[in-house]
């Protein structure tokens, strides 16, 4: 059985909004910027409570990233909010020069990441953002798994000095990790112990991996489930320890396999403890319109896909 209970479906973006509200009350240096998506990013409460620290920049993401970089110079901790696509690809050079290379303490907070954005389709469904952000020297990349963890991550990154990319999503998904949890950047969580295969998941796919482990159990396969909420810096120890035990790994993410979590895990494995690995990820493709559930199924990102890859990778063990 799944060792975690769904406490009720909630969207991870609301976890961000809740965390930002806590920060607004606690830390007068926290400021927020938004590019005309205040409601979508759940930044309304921060805006209402701290209007002097909220900057509506309009539909001008490049300018938003530059203003955020400038605000850090006066000691502020800026949180920028827009969709993942407009938080990364649209403003890559602004982030690269004015934030990452300049080592500015900006928190780039990105909602509607991945294919579960749904009906808006491929123009808005970025599946390349993890890769874009993890390639930038000094950038921390975080993709929490549920509402509670997104809230905890939002609060934690304010105390971290340096640029952070925080990725979360649109749909309501199971909320299963503890309320008011401690969030340690760069530290994976082992959610379920097993001995035959390790399922390493990030973001929305962590719950799917837990459900896949239940299904595998009925087929006589013991699966370990690890939540990697921080893709960079990656928790090598938890990955290597588990891979040494199980000898087979499945990575699962709502992202292109090129540039995603899976490739980061593969590098850790090949340079330390080579073992068979299978990838649950989109296969070098754009998304399309549909409901989140339909898209997860069509693009083979759901629990069935994870279960199938687990059974396949076990066959490749030597």
């Amino acid at each position: 059985m799944n060792p975690y209970n769904n406490q009720g479906n909630q969207d991870t973006r609301s976890g961000f909004g809740a965390g930002l509200s806590v920060l607004g009350a606690e830390n007068p240096n926290v400021v927020a910027l938004c590019a005309d998506l205040t409601g979508s990013l759940k930044m309304d409460a921060f805006k209402a409570d701290h209007p002097e620290r909220f900057f509506q920049v309009g539909i001008a993401e490049a300018n938003m990233m530059g203003i955020a970089a400038g605000l850090t110079i006066g000691g502020k901790i800026p949180f920028t909010g827009t969709f993942a696509n407009f938080s990364t690809g649209r403003v890559y050079d602004q982030i690269r020069q004015s934030i990452a290379y300049s080592r500015k303490n900006v928190k780039i907070c990105a909602s509607h990441a991945g294919i579960t954005l749904g009906e808006d389709g491929a123009t808005h469904q970025i599946l390349e953002d993890i890769g874009l952000m993890k390639m930038l020297p000094g950038m921390t990349v975080i993709n929490p798994c549920d509402f509670n963890q997104t809230k905890a991550a939002t609060i934690a990154i304010a105390a971290h000095e340096g640029p952070v990319y925080l990725r979360f999503g649109r749909p309501k998904v199971p909320n299963f990790t503890p309320e008011n949890q401690a969030f340690e950047i760069g530290k994976g969580n082992c959610l379920r112990e097993g001995k035959d295969v390790t399922l390493i998941a990030t973001g929305h796919l962590v719950w799917e991996a837990l459900e896949a482990a239940v299904s595998l159990e009925t087929q006589g396969v013991s699966a370990e489930v690890i939540n990697i909420h921080t893709i960079k810096p990656l928790d090598k120890e938890i990955i290597l320890e588990s891979a040494a035990k199980t000898g087979a790994v499945v990575t699962a993410e709502e992202h292109n396999y090129l540039g995603g979590l899976g490739e980061s895990v593969a590098r850790v494995l090949t340079t330390n403890h080579p073992c068979p690995q299978a990838f649950v990820a989109t296969n070098d493709t754009f998304g399309e319109s549909g409901t989140p559930a339909q898209l997860m199924k069509k693009y083979q990102l759901d629990r069935e896909a994870i279960t199938a890859k687990a059974l396949e990778v076990i066959q490749r063990k030597s």
Binding site: R53, G66, I67, A69, G74, G75, S98, Y101, K104
Partner: protein, 281 residues
């Protein structure tokens, strides 16, 4: 009252520094650097309140951002001559392991630099952010930014220009170096900028025209006027008309020296036109 003779002497020494820096490594951008030398001298040796001991936050100080980062030679020489770091370090410009990178950066911790620039069009947004932080911190000092005119072809500038006026970022004084030249030719040939004064005014900025951006008294007077115009609800822009390559006869009236270093013979001629005043590094 400003000692104009002394400021001109400083400018002349900085012109020498620029020429020697780019000549040594046979790379860099002398044209725009020479065109803005008097402006840098006016800002750093007279107009701005600033501390060469340097703190990143610049609390209680006027702070400056260079958006057109390729004119790093004039920025570095000015910072060194102002006491931000030893003038001998100008010897390391563009060399391996140097803090004086081809384009300015905070990465190696060079005092005086608060943001990396070089990829064009980003500096004005950063300056707006720094100006907003000053307002939040109740810091009465101002934020200055220098932009190239060709750089205004980058769209991000117009996002920033719209934002600053709409949000009354009036502790910001931007200067556009209007030398009417860019890599591929004149700005008119490459992409006509149109009527910059009318454009800035239409966006809601207070616009000051500086006809001779290479004359120190005129620059200082315009900066004073800009300061007096600030804090009245509008961001301020100075359209500063300069001569690229100013002070070196063969580098003027052409865009050829945008990103080209002089050879030995050319350096000799250029230095002869700008005798030493403060001692070479």
């Amino acid at each position: 009252m400003a000692d104009i003779a002394q400021l001109n002497a400083t400018a002349q020494q900085i012109r020498r520094d620029i020429l020697r820096m780019v000549h040594k490594v046979n790379s860099g951008h002398p044209g725009g650097s020479l065109g803005c030398t008097e402006f840098f001298v006016a800002l750093f040796f007279e107009h701005m309140k600033h501390q060469p001991s340097f703190s990143m936050d610049g609390a209680g100080e006027d702070i400056f951002f260079l958006s057109n980062g390729h004119i790093s030679p004039v920025f570095y020489a000015t910072l060194a001559r102002s006491g931000y770091f030893p003038v001998d370090e100008l010897n390391t410009f563009r060399l391996i392991d140097s803090r004086l990178q081809g384009h300015p950066t905070t990465h190696e911790g060079l005092p005086g630099v608060r943001i990396a620039s070089g990829s064009l069009g980003q500096g004005l947004s950063v300056a707006i952010g720094a100006a907003l932080a000053k307002k939040l911190n109740n810091d009465p000092q101002r934020v200055y930014a220098l932009l190239g005119d060709g750089e205004l072809q980058e769209g991000q500038n117009w996002e920033a220009i719209m934002y600053a006026a709409a949000n009354r970022v009036d502790n910001l004084i931007a200067t556009v170096d209007v030398n009417e030249k860019q890599i591929d030719g004149t700005t008119n040939e490459v992409l006509h900028l149109g009527d910059l004064k009318a454009k800035f005014e239409a966006f809601g900025w207070a616009v000051l025209n500086l006809k001779n951006g290479n004359a120190l008294p005129d620059i200082l007077q315009t900066l004073e006027k800009a300061k007096a115009t600030s804090n009245q609800g509008q961001p301020v822009v100075i359209l500063m008309h300069t001569e690229m390559g100013n002070g070196v006869d063969f580098m003027m009236h052409t865009h050829a020296w945008h990103g080209k270093a002089p050879n030995d013979e050319q350096l000799e001629s250029a230095l002869a036109q700008n005798p030493e005043t403060l001692g070479d590094y």
